[in-house]
């Protein structure tokens, strides 16, 4: 059975001289220009303005601490177990406080490996890790993306700054 | 730490009554409590040696039963029932009165070593609640006035 290739319909005269189509195209670009000039542009002035990210946006992690500064993490290794990117390394140690018993001696997230799936946050039984909306943490070296406990406990500050900025932009 | 000769006689009588020595554990602990005032860890070990038992097993038994005093008690061990019937009939008030009179909380012993106050479970005399037991004697249908009278008689 022969395969019949459907040929496009021959162009009409007006289509063949292109000019109406060109004018139509010019009209479209002009429409966009006028719309943008009237304030309908989609870009934002990034460093000054911030995009409003959705509430479930997932970016840099934070490890919340108790009021006394003690880390909430008990090093149960659920996050490192569930992590599909193997980005989390945890080592546990004995806490001086017998009520807490176990805490993380070493906790590190390789943000370059992280795929920001949020599983660690979901699996954490102690609410000891969250993904913030802070997506501004680029550096120029790989080590800079290794977030240990000392840095992870402090990224929370950046979150509030970011949210303040967002509120200002609104 | 050793039993008196009379107690030893009793022990021998008890041991002869059972096919295995372990069966005599409860009565022996009672004897120990009578002899030494309370069942200390040493007393447990002594009883264990009499029965050829490991001391931990004796410890398990003696701590299980509340009638064995694990700590020294005063001359008069005042045990107030605070179980349901007695509580309904005002046992808590009785305990308060005793606390006030003796100046101690339940579980404590007076400074002169005379009285120990305890809250205990059912003493099996619900018909005459509230009830307390001082050493081996029951005092029933207690009121505040009766307590004064009873304690006064003991001093």
């Amino acid at each position: 059975m022969a395969i019949i290739v459907k040929k496009p319909a021959p162009l009409t005269f007006w289509e063949r001289i292109y000019l109406p189509a060109i004018l139509k195209g010019l009209g479209m670009t002009m429409r966009h220009m006028i719309k943008t000039l009237a304030g309908g542009g989609v870009t934002i002035r990034y460093p000054e303005q911030h995009k409003r990210v959705p509430n479930n946006y997932r970016a840099l992690h934070v490890m919340p601490t108790w009021e006394d500064g003690h880390i909430k993490c008990v090093a149960c290794e659920m996050c490192s177990t569930v992590c599909p990117a193997n980005a989390i390394t945890v080592h546990a140690e004995e806490d001086e406080n017998p009520e807490i018993e176990k805490r993380a001696a070493f906790y590190e997230i390789d943000e370059l490996r992280c795929i920001f799936c949020g599983f660690c946050e979901e699996v954490c039984p102690r609410d000891a890790i969250h993904l913030t909306k802070n997506y501004e943490f680029v550096t120029d070296n790989r080590e800079g993306f290794l977030y240990g406990m000392d840095r992870l406990t402090k990224t929370g500050r950046l979150v509030s700054e970011l949210e303040a900025k967002e509120n200002k932009d609104r | 730490m050793e039993f008196s000769p009379e107690a030893m006689k009793e022990v021998e009588k008890l041991l002869s009554r059972y096919p295995i020595k372990e069966a005599a554990l409860l009565p022996l602990l009672h004897i120990a409590q009578r002899e030494f005032g309370h069942v200390s860890l040493e007393a447990e070990a002594y009883v264990a040696s009499l029965l050829d038992l490991p001391a931990p097993r004796v410890h398990g038994v003696s701590t299980f039963y509340t009638m064995y005093n694990k700590k020294p008690v005063g001359k008069y061990h005042v045990q107030v029932c605070t179980n349901i019937s007695c509580s309904l009939m005002g046992a808590e008030h009785i305990v308060k009165c005793l606390e006030k009179k003796l100046g101690i909380k339940p579980g404590q012993t007076t400074a002169d070593g005379k009285f120990t106050l305890s809250e205990v479970e059912c003493l099996g005399s619900c018909g005459t609640a509230p009830v307390m037991q001082i050493n081996d004697d029951y005092y029933e249908d207690l009121t505040e006035a009766k307590i004064d009278q009873i304690l006064g008689g003991l001093k």
Binding site: P125 | P54, P56
Partner: protein
């Protein structure tokens, strides 16, 4: 052989089994906490409740023994409801701190609460708690809050260790398992470590393993303990080429459910700082080719009468075969040295530990590598100019060499094959870094002739190589024509010898037992 019906499945099971074991034979798991096949029955956790026709009330499976015609149901609504009720009671006081708990991941309570627990608690009062500094010995960590009062620990100490030291304390809600160290009873027996597996919740965990890693991160390699001639079956739990713990592997012929704490904890030498870093020739680092060539050359220099091979009984049967072939090629003798006064059958305690602190004395014997009492004299007399010393780190060989330590160190052509540094390796002309047992494949023959396989858990550390490969290279360097290139070939070659030995030992042991029985009668 009673015929019973479990959940509608008719089956025939062995006599004298209880329902838990009977159900296990047809693959039905009945959850339980207090029951353990090695321990006496107490039937107190109530988790194993089952329906038994025609009894109206639920029965405990652990204390119900099979009878012909029994009809058992383990998955009815009534049973499930009962299990859920039991779990709810057990979880009233259990802290549910699985994130912190070392047992998480291999915890009966956790597993059963996944199946029968509920996601919330109706218990609104304060949970009872205990102080955390309750003494429990050097090897264990005890969190009494987590205890579910199964009394396995009490029964283990009473019945298996025969050293009753744990007991209940108080009653009802306040019940606590407590050790009472009196009259010379100590918690730190050589078997306390077994609590780690025995405890069905996280109340007793191993201090040595505490917080090291999570059990689900570990790979489990089946192996055999090398620390004495009992040859307990073990799991090597390891991660990233590092042993994290040793667990017993059930083998009713050898170690039943237990291992001793030496075997459990003494694996540090596999990762110690004294592991020999790489091959050395005359104290200087060398590459493997140089070292092996030099060693093979040295072994041939002084002639058969002045050459000897001394091998510890930690070598596998396959390595022993190569040792024998190497000796044949060199024309010299291969021997082990007798540890002073060690009888391979002698026990050091009533349970598992044996006086013979080498894994494969019997295997070496089967291959003809036997203690040579004359060798010590030859060594001290200076008759031996060339010595291949295999694994002098082994305690037993080290003890046997104690008297001739200086003489051996002075041997000019001393070749040492070992995994950890010793005085001998420091004095040796050539040092060949070998593997520890977790790093090699092979078989050990235990005290009663049982040949047991050890599996390689991970590759030898650093530049070390498997002893089998090293010996193979040495033997080939010495001119031997060796057909068996792998440990499996080697095993096939010696299988008959080993089996013969096993039969022989069995006969010997029976004879000994008979003699002992007769002596007792007389």
């Amino acid at each position: 052989m009673p015929k019973i019906t479990i959940d509608g499945i008719e089956c025939e099971v062995a006599d004298g089994l209880n329902v838990i074991e009977a159900a296990k034979t047809i693959g039905i798991h009945i959850p339980h906490f207090c029951y353990h096949p090695a321990l006496s029955l107490v039937g107190q956790c109530r988790m194993c409740l089952i329906e038994l026709d025609p009894i109206p009330k639920l029965q405990t499976a652990c204390s119900t023994f099979v009878k012909d015609g029994m009809v058992i149901r383990t998955n009815t609504e009534k049973v499930i409801k009962a299990r859920k009720a039991i779990m709810e009671f057990l979880l009233i006081n259990h802290p549910l701190d699985c994130p912190e708990c070392d047992q998480a991941g291999e915890c009966d309570l956790q597993n059963n609460s996944f199946e029968f627990g509920q996601g919330f608690s109706r218990f609104e009062e304060q949970k009872r708690t205990y102080s955390r500094d309750i003494p429990v010995g050097e090897k264990l960590v005890r969190i009494q809050d987590r205890c579910i009062h199964c009394t396995r620990c009490i029964r283990f100490f009473r019945e298996i260790v025969q050293n009753e030291v744990m007991t209940y304390q108080w009653r009802g809600n306040n019940t606590a398992m407590t050790p009472l160290e009196q009259d010379g009873r100590r918690l730190d027996t050589n078997y306390s470590g077994n609590m780690h597996e025995l405890c069905p919740c996280g109340a007793l965990t191993l201090k040595d393993f505490r917080f090291k890693t999570r059990p689900w991160n570990l790979a489990n390699t089946e192996s055999v303990c090398p620390l004495c001639s009992t040859g307990c079956n073990i799991f090597i739990d390891h991660k990233q080429r590092k042993i994290f713990r040793i667990r017993p592997r059930v083998n009713m012929d050898v170690n039943t459910w237990w291992i001793c704490d030496f075997g459990r904890i003494d694996f540090g030498y596999a990762h110690s700082e004294t592991r020999i870093a790489g091959p050395r020739v005359k104290g200087a680092d060398a590459d493997w080719k140089t070292a092996l060539d030099t060693a093979a050359g040295l072994l041939k220099t002084t002639g058969a009468s002045a050459t000897a091979i001394l091998c510890s009984a930690d070598a596998t049967n396959e390595e022993a075969l190569l040792v024998k072939k190497l000796a044949a090629a060199l024309g010299c003798s291969a021997a082990s040295l007798p540890a002073p006064g060690v009888d391979p059958l002698e026990m050091e305690d009533h349970l598992l530990l044996r006086a013979d602190k080498a894994a494969n004395t019997q295997g070496l014997k089967a291959l003809g590598i036997v203690p040579d009492p004359a060798l010590a004299d030859k060594l001290s007399g200076g008759a031996i100019k060339t010595l291949l010393l295999i694994n002098p780190f082994n305690k037993q060989l080290a003890a046997a060499l104690d008297g001739v330590r200086d003489a051996v160190a002075k041997i000019p052509n001393l070749v040492v094959l070992d995994h950890n540094e010793t005085d001998f390796s420091k004095a040796a002309a050539v040092v060949l870094p070998g593997a520890v047992w977790a790093e090699k494949n092979g078989t050990f023959t235990n005290y009663k002739g049982l040949v047991q396989r050890i599996n390689q858990a991970f590759a030898p550390a650093g530049k070390a190589r498997g002893d089998f490969d090293i010996l193979l290279a040495l033997a080939q360097g010495a001119g031997a024509d060796i057909a068996c290139k792998t440990h499996i070939d080697a095993y096939n070659e010696i299988r008959d010898d080993l089996l013969k030995l096993e039969a022989q030992i069995k006969k010997d042991i029976e004879a000994l037992q008979k003699a002992a029985a007769e002596a007792e009668k007389a």
